[in-house]
Amino acid sequence: MFDHTLPELSALLRDRKVSSEELARLFLARIEELDPALNAFITVDAQKALAAARAADARIARGDGSPLTGIPIAHKDLFCARGWRTTCGSRMLADWVAPYDAHVVEQFDRAGAVLLGKTNMDEFAMGSSNENSFFGPARNPWDTSRVPGGSSGGSAAAVAARLVPAATGTDTGGSIRQPASLTGTCGIRPTYGAVSRYGMVAFASSLDQGGAFGKSAEDLALMLGVMAGFDERDSTSIERPKEDYTRHLARPLAGVRVGLPKEYFTADLAPDVAACVTAAIDELKRQGAALVEVSLPNQALAVPVYYVIAPAEASSNLSRFDGVRYGHRAAAYGDLADMYRKSRAEGFGPEVQRRILVGTYVLSHGYYDAYYLQAQKVRRLIARDFTEAFKACDVIAGPVAPTVAFPIGEKASDPVQMYLEDLYTIPVNLAGLPGLSVPCGFGAHGLPVGLQLIGGYFDEARMLQVAHQYQQATGWHRKAPPGYGA
């Protein structure tokens, strides 16, 4: 039962083969039994969950359900949920209860999904391993001595371990796609502006985007259908007609042009990962896709550019955490400035502090032009590379991460080593494009490898088509970690 995809569960609920309450109890029991070894969840609330499940059952009985009605889900702990502790993985908000719902949370509520809990994450979404959480690292169910990726590591681990059928995440530099790749799950980051950021605690406002994890491309299409849509409360939300993201899933790949950036297959990419991704691309060709070599000449500049822009925006966004209106306040301090300094030093972990300091520097007087403005200009060059490439292809394919999941602690001593994990995902965020990761095999140590697909602006349905068609012919997405499958 816990291995089913969203459409399978939805059909079982509709046909009354199982009730939402039974599903909630099943997954809550799995969480209780299996989460201690994974630490995927920061908060679980069985009472709230069962109340929501009973309400969903009533709705289904009235014939008033929709695809997500009665389905248990989890939200990354970056989304404000009214009455739920919302920590952002940080000591700064360790005891803070959100007084309102994020737009994304409202959408799932309206759809009748059943919230089981809030998932673990790198603090304020800053990290690629979920090791930067105040609540301890989340662990990869494929090998619990290894990272699940980050920053949405908890959501990825929870879906991979079948603790919940689907979960939300956020992706600012790869924080959905990279954990999806490392945990053998499917993850999607939509076009910037597709999903409202209202109530999604801000890290880097021009890069952040909410997205989802599931076990199939179809799952992602259904999750996106609930999450995406105009919200006037987010000034960067794009006003456009509602979409059915499942509409192209069944179309065969014949004639779809798949772009292969020549800059991707370099020494940075581990050979075991390259082999899986190459085999996946060969499968797309076998299904009738046309492979086209494209070029992203500024690919190597993406990580340096990101680590100017993201910290700069983070330094601004996190300036609100000052111990005055919410969050951690130091127990002992002198004057007001001292209260700020100590509250922030105690509330923020080392990686968050590093990024705030980098951001403060690049925005400061005398350095703004040389760093922040320059980075924004190079950002445009990177975005232009994609626009140019998309003249010759419909989707771009390539790796998600340069390696499989690494051991907890391995990259902890050098921040830059960690940053280079995101070299294939970051350019997509800089350009504001949609991207997804689906499992495409196993690499070193039998660990999962993800295939990244990148689409044109608001072309998620086509990306999902390619992913779905690929999945129909292969079985990677149905593989569960040993001990967590049916």
Binding site: S206, L301, Y326, R344, L357, R379, G432
Partner: protein, 94 residues
């Protein structure tokens, strides 16, 4: 490369206390990050428009009408120190 004074200065701007014993390590990791960032500084960007946003849109405006309700108590329930609807902080003006 950042000097110790640079680190002090930025920490002050960012209102984050950096203890003396952690300063050297912090300076080193920040310099590592700036080493990474250096690569993008050399790029010729003459005539290139800075890109602040992914999608070309203009800030939406709305009618200047009150639409929010007063939820003082709800929002202040999670505050460190409040009294009579006010947030309490150390005295600023002597």
């Amino acid at each position: 490369m950042l000097s110790r004074d640079d680190v002090h200065r930025i920490a002050e701007l960012a209102r984050i206390e950096v203890p003396e014993e952690g300063l050297a390590a912090l300076q080193q990791s920040l310099n590592g990050i700036f080493g990474l960032i250096e690569q993008m500084r050399a790029v010729d960007t003459a005539g290139v428009e800075p890109m602040a946003h992914a999608v070309e849109v203009v800030q939406r405006l709305r009618e200047d009408r009150v639409t929010e309700a007063d939820q003082h108590d709800l929002f202040q329930a999670g505050a460190p120190q409040v009294e009579d609807g006010l947030y309490l902080v150390p005295k600023v003006i002597e």
